[in-house]
Each structure stands twice: as C-alpha cells, then as structure tokens.
C-alpha cells in the first residue's frame, strides 16, 4: 500500500507534476505515513532518478528543473506535518544566493539555486541586483552556512569582494562560507578576493557546496 504510494510519489517528481506531488503528499498525511519516509522513500527516489537520467543525457534541463519544482511543492506540503511531529527533514545546509548589486543577470544564479535545492540544500534566492547588506542580513536571519554570489559583468564582480570584506570585518567567516560564480569569474579572481569556493557551472556549484558543509560525495 505505502509502497505503491511511494512509487507514485517518485513518478510525480519524474513527471515534474507539482499538483500530483502535492496531492500525494496530502494523501500520505491523511494515511498517517511518516512524512520523513514519504520524502526519502518516495519523492527523493524520483529526484535521484531524474538526476541520473540528466547525467547520462536521457533528460535535459526542463525535466530537471520541473522535478526540482515538484519536489519543492511536495516538501512545502509535508513541512507543517514534520514540525507537528517535532522531527525535521535533514537538510545539507542553508544557502543564501543572489546576483550582486548593479547586475541583473539571473539565469545562471537561478540554475545553481535549483540544483542546490534539488540536492538537498535549503536555498534562499534573493534575486538580482542585491546589495551587500541585504545578502549578509539574510544570511544572518536564516543562519546560513553558505553565501553564493553570481556576477556576470566585469564591472560588478568587484561587489563580491565587498561582501567578503564586510563578512570578514564582522568576523562572520569562516562560519559563513562564500562561493562565487559567473562568466567573468576566474580562479585568479577567486584567489584574489579569498572566497571559499567557485565554480563554472551548476553541477560544480553543488559539489563545492557539499564540500563546504562537510558532506562531499565519496
């Protein structure tokens, strides 16, 4: 019975169908199934399947992103129930993500956000054109482990350094780790501004983030 439900849950993620995913989550609650089990035996199996299919080139970004969205909806439905039971889903870490001030390129940042979300991070995506105070403020508010900053312009990548300097001044590092990315970001720049990690793509971003919270893939 439960097994069949779990299978449907996985399938809803594979189909990228948020509506069905929410319905199934509600069913699980009604049937008194442990939400943690619904997540790990049901929905996560779907996410993993999609992830595998993506890595071998059977499905592409639309499937991946929609799977992430469906997962998010399912989790949002189960979250209150988890709280009620006093248990919490294990998350890999909290990430505050933004494109820096003066810069409105958002696609890469959003992609990194969905991949982090789908991999088990709790992601707070502030959007584009975000000043240092907002980014740091949010990181403190949600007790973030990681700040991720995107910059696509040579004129705005300097803002990444400003945030890092501010964090250092406030003594918030190494508690909060900083990872950076975007087309003009090079290893040189990463070393120069003493960030904690950088990546040229979303898959790499997940790897780095996992390393930062001590959960690197074996």
């Amino acid at each position: 019975m439960a097994n069949e439900l779990f299978q449907k849950m996985a399938q809803s993620i594979i189909d990228g169908d948020s509506e069905v995913a929410v319905e199934l989550a509600e069913q699980a609650i009604a049937q008194g199934i442990d939400p943690l089990e619904a997540i790990s035996n049901g929905f996560v199996t779907g996410v993993n399947k999609v992830g595998e299919a993506f890595s071998v080139g059977d499905v592409f970004l639309p499937e991946l992103v929609m799977a992430g969205d469906a997962m998010k909806s399912a989790l949002a439905t189960l979250e209150p129930e988890l709280k009620k039971l006093g248990s919490a889903r294990e998350i890999l870490g909290r990430v505050v993500l933004a494109t820096v001030e003066g810069d409105i390129h958002e696609i890469g940042k959003t992609l990194v956000g969905s991949m982090l979300g789908a991999s088990g991070f709790e992601v707070y995506d502030l959007g584009v054109d975000q000043p240092a105070e907002k980014i740091i403020g949010k990181a403190l508010e949600v007790n973030a482990d990681i700040i991720g900053m995107s910059a696509l312009l040579t004129t705005t990548m300097v803002r990444q350094r400003e945030v890092i300097e501010e964090l250092d001044k406030e003594g918030l590092r190494p508690r909060i780790k900083v990872m950076i990315g975007g087309a003009p970001i090079t290893r040189d720049w990463f070393e120069k501004i003493k960030a904690d990690g950088y990546s040229e793509d979303a898959v790499g971003a997940v790897k780095i983030a996992k390393g930062m919270v001590g959960k690197a893939d074996q």
Binding site: G57, T155, V158
Partner: protein, 489 residues
C-alpha cells in the same frame, strides 16, 4: 538583378507577431525599473503603476513612436566621411563586443586581455577592409573593473578611424563615454549631426527595462546618439521555447524601447536589433551559433523591416572554444543568414565561446568570410548584353579567356580575391609554403597587418583630453594612473 532575400515569415505571420507584440505592451505591460521612463510613459497616457513599476502602453502610443522613429541614418568615420548606412537591405559588419577573454596567439587558449591587446585589436579592425566598423571588443584586465566599459572606448578612439559600436555597463559611465565621443566630434551638436558611435542597450527578458540600460537608452535619445536595441529572448529560459514565440517577445521588448526612446526625443535614431539565442537544454548555455538562433534573428530582422526601422543582428559568432571547424561553420552560417536577411549591421566577427571571447585570428578568418558573404549578396550581375553571345561567337572554341581584355576588365569585380588566409594553392604549393593551418596563416596575417598600422590624425591635445576624462573616472574608483600607451603613435 534579382534581389537576394531571405524571408522566413509570410506577411500574415509578420502582422500577427507585430500585433501580439503590441498587445503584450497593453497587457501585462512592460516592467520599467526607471523613474524617468515611467514618468515619460505616464505623461504620454500609458497606464503606469509606479509601485509595481509596470507600464501598460496602449497601441496608439506605440504606433505614434513608430511614426517618429527614423527609417535610416548614417554613421560617420572620424574623418567625417559616411561609413555605415543603416538603410534598406544594406549590410555592414562589426566585431563582437564586450568580451571577457582573448585567445592567446601562442598558446591558442583564452586569457585575460590587457591594454596592448585592445590596441592591437583596434589596429587590426582598421586594417581589414571587409569589416566596416569598430566595436569596443573586450575588457582590459589591467584597469579597475569599474571603468572597463569606458576604458575600451578611450583606447579605441585613439587608434580608430572607422565608426564604433559600443555600450555602457553602468549608469554613471555613459556620460564620460559620451564626453569622449563629443570631444572627438567637436561638441554634442557635431556628434548628433554626424554620429560616430552607436550604443547597444539591452532590455532584460522577459519584458523588463533595468534601471541602468533604460537610462542609457534615454540618455542616447536626449543627445541624438544612435541607440541599438539588443533584445535577447533566450528561447526556453527567459522566453517562449517556440521560435515564433521568442520573436513575439523580441517584438514587444523592442517596441517598448522605441516608445521610451521616441518619447524622450522624437526622431532620434534607433536600431531594431538583438542577440537572441535558444537555451541549450543540456548545457544550460546560450548558443549564439545555433541554427535556431539564426532563425530567430532572421525573423526579427524581417519584423523590424516591416516596421520600417534600421536593423541589426548578432550572428557572426561561434560557441567553439578554439579556432577550429565548429568556429568556422557556425560563423559562416550566421553571417550568411543575417546578410541574406538584410540586417544593416551584423555583429560578431572575431568572437567565440558563447559571446565571451575574441580572437585576432578568428577576426582575420571571419573577414574573409565576410568578403565572401558580401560578394554573394551582390549577386550575379549582367555586365554585357547579350550576356556572352557576342563574346563567345567571337572567341569561338579557343578557350583563351585569360588573354581576353574582357577577362581583364571584369575579373576583379566578378571575383572576390581572398587573402592568403584562404588556401587555394596546389598541394605542393601548400607544402612548400610550410604546410600551415588556417590558424597559422591567420596569425601571420594578423601580425603583418598590425605591424603596418598607420596612426590616425588624432592630435596630442585631443589625446590628452580623452586621457583626462578616463583618468577622472578611474580616480573615482581608486585608480590613480592609467597604463601607459606605447610611445610614438
């Protein structure tokens, strides 16, 4: 001569795209993160929500803007001669711009460019007759990043004669850039009547004008400096995945640009351009060399022409990482499609790696490509009438055309003669010249052309003035001196 013309859309489809574009501006409207533009729109009668920063533009306002926008204009070189005529189906070419890296001629891999690279690049563009205009090609890493955009214009102005396609990355760098252009032209008035530069301005897909780029647009209009709308729907990511859908979004974004621009100043020159792309669903990248990217570009150029506006396409590029076969095939395809579509200016030569890298060698190779494309577009002309009857009746079966005056009279016009970059030698000939690859031949040609550069007539005084403007900007960002320029030029 029959006109060569590529039209992907039939008339009904063009009309439908335009009316859907106009309808999108009415609802949901365009987001405008710029107070001044919102006020202009509100005053003109658009329904503006200042809180949400959204303007719903009625069709009448859009139509009015299309009436006042000029159908053509000319860019002048620094000597004051007309150089690029944005008109009808005339085509011109300029290199890609805003690059982050340059292919190192020795390692054949990208690296960060410095001042001397940009100087070389500008000289090379001057030397290539196929390339009609300069562009502020890439960012120099030896100045503070904040002045990256204006510093490239400064360098270009010192070494160039051809007009230039440029763009500002910030609100506060536009003005010093304008000051430099104005200094070279001899005042704002002179610059307006004989513009030497075009500013690229990008709306943000979908349906948004950011504060910065919108201000650039308004500032250009105010000084009658041509603005080039670079709408870049990314089909499947920030725009509908259907190609026709992406063109509708492009139409709406460009129309909103024309409206804001013409409301600022009626009759100011504006170009219907773009740099769209499909979104690659495997890599999550924006391939500029994709066949569908060419198709979206060709279609929007057709829409722009239907609206009577000058047009631009950004298609002469490749997504390859080195100068290889992919680089050649993608650039050739894009250049051909845009040229046959009649885009007035076609950007992208010399550029690769998803619009982020430039190469001297690719520029030299692309110049040959452009020579061929221009030749193709000129078409097959009838030089004599009858075409060959009299000639061949006279020459009979002799086949000695090499010795005929007729051959000598016409061969230079009939044939595009490529440089040594294009190898047409016998195998032995190629061997005896060192068995060189296209890249090697291009590298040698680039070196030769750069070495033969002749300085322009720019006065020492003007150089000082341009340097002073640039230095002032640098100082605001904590840089006290600029990299020295090579002596004696």
């Amino acid at each position: 001569m029959p006109r060569l013309k590529l039209e992907l859309l039939d008339n009904d489809l063009v009309n439908q795209i335009i009316s859907e574009g106009i309808a999108l501006l009415e609802s949901p409207g365009i987001r405008v993160h710029n107070r001044e533009a919102l006020e202009l729109l509100a005053n003109a009668g658009a329904k503006v929500d200042f809180q949400a920063q959204i303007a719903c533009i009625p069709e009448s306002i859009t139509r009015q803007a299309l009436k006042t926008a000029p159908h053509e204009f000319t860019l002048f070189d620094l000597k004051g001669d007309p150089a690029v005529h944005y008109f009808g189906d005339k085509i011109h070419f300029d290199p890609g711009s805003g690059g982050l890296t340059i292919i190192d001629s020795q390692t054949e891999r990208p690296r960060l460019p410095v001042t001397s690279d940009l100087i070389k690049f500008v000289k090379l563009v001057e030397a290539l007759p196929q390339v009609d205009a300069q562009s502020t090609a890439f960012i120099c890493s030896d100045v503070v990043p904040e002045i990256g955009d204006l510093y490239r214009l400064y360098l270009a102005l010192i070494y160039m004669n051809k007009p230039i396609i440029t763009g500002a990355f910030r609100k506060d760098t536009w003005l010093p850039m304008k000051e430099m252009l104005s200094a070279v032209a001899g005042g704002d008035q002179a610059l307006a009547s004989k513009p030497t530069a075009v500013f690229d301005v990008c709306p943000s897909p979908p349906l948004l004008w950011s504060e910065t780029t919108c201000q650039n647009l308004i500032d250009c209009a105010r000084f009658s400096i041509p603005a080039q709308l670079i709408s870049m729907p990314l089909a499947g990511a920030t725009a509908p995945v259907t190609l026709a859908g992406a063109v509708v979004q492009h139409t709406a974004e460009c129309l909103s640009g024309v409206v804001i621009h013409q409301l600022t100043k009626e009759g100011a020159p504006i170009v219907w351009g773009g740099s769209p792309a499909i979104f690659d669903m495997r890599e999550g990248s924006t391939p500029m060399g994709a066949v569908e990217t060419w198709m979206i570009s060709s279609a929007y150029v057709q829409v722009g022409k239907a609206l009577g506006l000058p047009t631009h396409a950004y298609t002469g590029m490749s997504d390859g990482k080195i100068i290889d076969a992919q680089c050649g095939l993608e650039s050739m395809g894009g250049n051909f499609v845009a040229a046959l579509s009649g885009a007035n200016i076609i950007s992208g030569c010399g550029m690769l790696d998803l619009e982020s890298c430039l190469s001297y060698e690719k520029l030299v190779i692309d110049a040959e490509m452009i020579g061929m494309v221009k030749r193709f577009v000129t078409g097959i002309e009838v030089r004599d009438n009858p075409i060959a009857l009299s000639l061949m009746q006279k020459s009979g079966h002799k086949g000695n055309f090499l010795s005929l005056p007729h051959t000598r009279k016409w061969y230079r016009e009939e044939q595009y003669l490529p440089s040594e970059v294009i190898d047409r030698a016998s195998f032995e000939g190629w061997k005896s010249r060192g068995e060189k690859s296209t890249f090697e031949r291009a590298r040698e040609r680039a070196e030769k052309l750069i070495a033969a550069y002749q300085p322009t007539k720019i006065t020492g005084e003007l150089r000082q003035e341009l340097r002073a403007i640039t230095l002032r900007a640098a100082e605001t960002f904590g840089m006290q001196s600029l990299p020295p320029l090579p002596k004696g030029e």
